[in-house]
């Protein structure tokens, strides 16, 4: 009897211990040589540039791979007091919109320019999600050189994806909205299905200068357009847009836009669209949008408001738009390096469908349609399908490629990346991410020539990965080695802002093309100074123009008098240095703006309206030389209406 009681007690203890057997935490095990694979010795360079979107910081960050080191925060849609972007008179026009000056946006996706579906890395494009815009960054100066606003759009999420020769960069609207005249736009929200439209914009890119132009828009049904990819190689000439909320709900989308088993991938034949435009089939519509261009010679942005857009109606213009049914609320739509396969990642779907471009063309040719949407054909799911990846994981979002026949899909809900064979659709490997990966990135991954060596996961949840920093944590990223059969975790690193998509390309593409300084003789800024002798101060009504030079280690002039309270004071500072890595800064006490950071050979302007009498110091903010702390000046502000004479000098003492 006693033994039986001991057994009972033993069972009770065993149950108590069962709780202790809960699963281990997600401490990852790193195998032996991971550190050496990411170690870039002092004096050597990273192999890849990684241009990473900053999400809600409106910027891009420039990261090296495999080290994960951040080299630069590159301001695009958000002001950047660190270098005066959006604060200097020259850069303010870059952030102009039809709504006026907008100091912030939400930058989600990056496209690096391509030629023949391979990275040429001349420009990086980024999208503004909130006030719809596309920006172009010059990758020889890492500067935002152009921003174009997208009319008829709201929530520019399905953007800025490009065609294989960077002929076009697209902008699909996440929010469909009513467009047209004031009367047409002032409608009850409940008339969503009748009055709302989803416009898709094609913005042409000049092959030489890169300059963008809003070429045409396609007026699509009022779905939410999520992401997009161009066809490439054999599918060049087509563009694929994922859609959700094909339920066309306008409230509680969490539930109401998740009801249909299949939404669509919208396939657009943009070569056909070009034909229609040549035939004059587009309709001009009156709109208002800003187009801002940076001039590298005047070092100044110019904003132009434009008033017209060409719109194509796919319900009338046939053979241009087709719908491929895709389960369920597809997020990413990605084309493989051959251009044959189109992968739809239904974020609520239990499988990943892979569509065949060849089958799609055949289905179109045979008119193998299961129905139509406002007169546009809906293709038969089965006829277009190459196959389905079974049991891939939970919450598929995005797919990248390694160029070796494998696809890598990020799984948000099950927090992993799944590697699968594109032909056989078999899952061959999976690795955990920490935690809940959003986008993933392989250098060259979206192009026809991926470099299948590394893969980065950009995660949405960080939790316990780093030393905690209060409620708000850095977003985590993981670098994996994908050169072998098994994916191997190498590195875990924090990122800037909230990265969404990113691209990476070999450093050799651009590192020798970097601009080191701007040539003084090419500086056409109207208020530039070519030497110290022209340094001066001029009064023009209540405007004071200070033509200021900076060179190690002085400002000219550095003693200024005769400024009155209420004057508008403009510091036009030219950095006279002609050497790499010698920027000079300018900060003025009490100025309600940011500093200027002026590159060698550049001219920039800081505006200051003094509101009180006194002596105000200004100084250089960038540690430029051994006598940097001596690089300073004084400006005297007298009372409004006083008659202190205008005076300026440098190096004159009593």
């Amino acid at each position: 009897m006693k033994t039986r009681m001991w057994l009972l007690a033993g069972a009770a203890i065993a149950m108590a211990f069962a709780y202790g057997c809960k699963p281990k935490g997600a401490q990852s095990t790193i195998s032996g040589d991971a550190a050496s694979k990411v170690y870039v010795p002092p004096g050597q360079y990273d192999e890849f540039y990684n241009i990473v979107s900053g999400g809600f910081n409106g910027q891009m960050s420039v990261v090296g791979l495999p080290s994960g080191r951040v080299f630069k925060i590159l301001p695009v849609f958000s002001v950047h007091p660190e270098n005066g972007y959006g604060f200097s008179e020259e850069t303010k026009p870059m952030l102009n919109t039809s709504n006026g000056f907008v100091p912030w946006d939400d930058l989600h996706h990056i496209s690096i320019s391509t030629t023949n579906a391979e990275h040429d890395a001349r420009w990086a494009f980024g999208n503004a999600n909130n006030t719809p815009r596309i920006a172009r960054v010059d990758l020889t100066t890492f500067k935002t050189v152009e921003i174009i606003e997208i009319p008829n759009s709201a929530g520019n999420h399905s953007s800025p994806y490009i065609t294989e020769n960077t002929e076009y960069v697209v902008a699909g609207t996440r929010f469909s909205v009513p467009t047209g005249s004031d009367e047409n736009r002032d409608v009850p929200i409940s008339t969503y299905k009748e009055n709302f439209k989803g416009h898709i914009s094609f913005i042409s890119v000049d092959p030489e200068s890169g300059q963008m132009d809003l070429s045409f828009q396609i007026e699509a049904p009022p779905f939410n357009f999520d992401l997009a990819r161009a066809g490439k190689k054999k599918s060049h000439g087509w563009f694929f847009f994922s859609t959700y909320n094909t339920e066309m709900a306008h409230t509680l989308l969490e539930v109401n836009a998740s009801q249909k088993d299949k939404d669509y991938i919208m396939a657009v034949n943009w070569k056909k669209a070009e034909e229609y435009i040549k035939q004059g089939k587009g309709k001009k519509q009156s709109v208002k949008y800003a187009h801002n261009v940076w001039d590298e010679h005047t070092h100044t942005g110019v904003s132009t408001i434009k008033n017209e857009v060409l719109v194509l109606d796919p319900t009338e213009l046939k053979d241009m738009v087709y719908f491929i049914p895709c389960p369920k609320s597809p997020h990413g739509t990605d084309t493989d390096p051959t251009g044959e396969y189109i992968i739809g990642s239904g974020k609520l779907a239990a499988i990943i469908p892979v569509f065949s471009f060849t089958k799609m063309l055949k289905a179109i040719e045979n008119e193998d349609f299961e129905g139509s949407l406002q007169g546009m054909p809906v293709l038969n799911y089965e006829s277009v399908l190459h196959g389905e990846v079974q049991k891939p994981g939970l919450g598929p979002l995005h797919t990248e490629f390694d160029g070796k026949g494998f696809a890598y899909t990020s799984m948000f809900v099950s927090s992993e990346i799944v590697k699968w064979n594109i032909e056989t659709l078999e899952v061959v490997d999976r690795v955990p991410t920490y935690y809940s990966v959003g986008h993933l990135m392989i250098p060259g991954g979206p192009t026809g020539k991926p470099h299948g060596k590394y893969m980065v996961a950009y995660n949405k949840i960080t939790k316990d990965r780093y030393l905690p920093t209060g409620p708000e944590l850095a977003h985590s990223a993981q670098l994996y080695d994908i050169s072998g059969d098994k994916m191997q975790l190498l590195l875990d690193f924090p990122t800037i802002g909230e990265p969404h998509y990113a691209e990476a390309f070999p450093a050799s593409l651009i590192m020798d093309k970097q601009v080191k300084f701007y040539k003084m003789e090419d500086n056409n800024h109207p208020r530039a100074l070519k030497g110290i002798n022209d340094a001066r101060v001029e009064r023009d009504g209540n405007k004071i123009h200070i033509y200021l030079t900076s060179i190690r280690s002085n400002f000219r002039p550095d003693n200024i008098e005769g400024v009155r309270v209420g004057d508008e004071v403009y510091f036009h500072m030219t950095n006279l240095e002609q050497d790499w890595d010698v920027p000079h800064g300018l900060a003025v006490k009490g100025a309600n703006t940011a500093e200027l950071l002026v590159m060698p050979g550049e001219t920039a302007t800081l505006k200051w309206v003094p509101d009180r009498v006194g002596i105000f110091p200004f100084y250089c903010t960038d540690f430029c030389s051994a006598l940097h702390q001596e690089m300073q000046g004084y400006i005297r502000v007298s009372a409004a209406g006083s008659n202190t004479p205008l005076k300026f000098s440098t190096g004159e003492a009593e």
């Binding site: 009897m1 009770a12 809960k22 609520l348 939970l394 809900v413 927090s415 955990p432 809940s436």
Partner: protein, 189 residues
């Protein structure tokens, strides 16, 4: 019918008094782990309330259309305090009166209550896991989310655990004490 051994009278009293802890400690717990919840989510069930990460669990579960867990979901919370009180009272009484049949009945009541609670929990779990909102965002064909009665179970990206908490273990100790009492008294005749 003989009276109890003095030592067993004390044990019965201890068993009954230990059960008073049910009013101050959680009786049962349900835990969930997922890749993005490595620290786990934990819900504690008390005699008349819930505590722990109930709101977070509700937030996670609404995607698949599970009902919102709340106190109002469990009518048991309104009467369980009286059921426990009656059983404890009966236990104390049987320690005082010290009749064998009373002690056996007390043990029987504890066992019946245990079985009752488990059956009740199973029925609730079945309904919670199967009776899903048809408009839920995530619908996995053929998938039900009934939590385990005791032990571990994988449900989509979550590993779930269900088992006794402190109060539940103390009651288990009471039951074990009562087994000792019942067995020794049974052998004594």
């Amino acid at each position: 019918m003989k009276n109890l051994l003095p030592i067993n009278r004390v044990l019965v009293l201890i068993a009954a008094l230990l059960m008073v802890s049910a009013y101050f400690t959680p009786l049962w717990q349900i835990s969930l782990w997922a890749p993005q919840y490595p620290e786990g989510l934990n819900m504690k069930i008390w005699i008349d309330k819930l505590s722990g990460d109930v709101d977070i669990i509700n937030g996670v579960n609404h995607y698949i259309g599970m009902k919102h867990i709340g106190v109002e979901m469990f009518p048991e919370f309104t009467y369980l305090i009286y059921v426990f009180g009656a059983i404890i009272g009966f236990g104390i009484l049987s320690a005082i009166i010290a009749k064998k049949w009373m002690v056996y009945s007390f043990f029987g009541l504890i066992v019946l209550m245990g079985i009752g609670v488990l059956v009740d929990m199973y029925i609730w779990g079945y309904d919670y896991g199967h009776n899903l909102d048809p408009t839920a965002a995530i619908k996995v064909p053929g998938m039900a989310y009934q939590p385990p009665l005791i032990g571990y179970k994988q449900l989509l990206n979550f590993l779930s655990y269900s088992g006794p908490d402190i109060g539940g273990w103390i009651i288990t100790v009471s039951a074990l004490i009562m087994i000792v009492v019942v067995v020794t008294e049974w052998r004594r005749k």
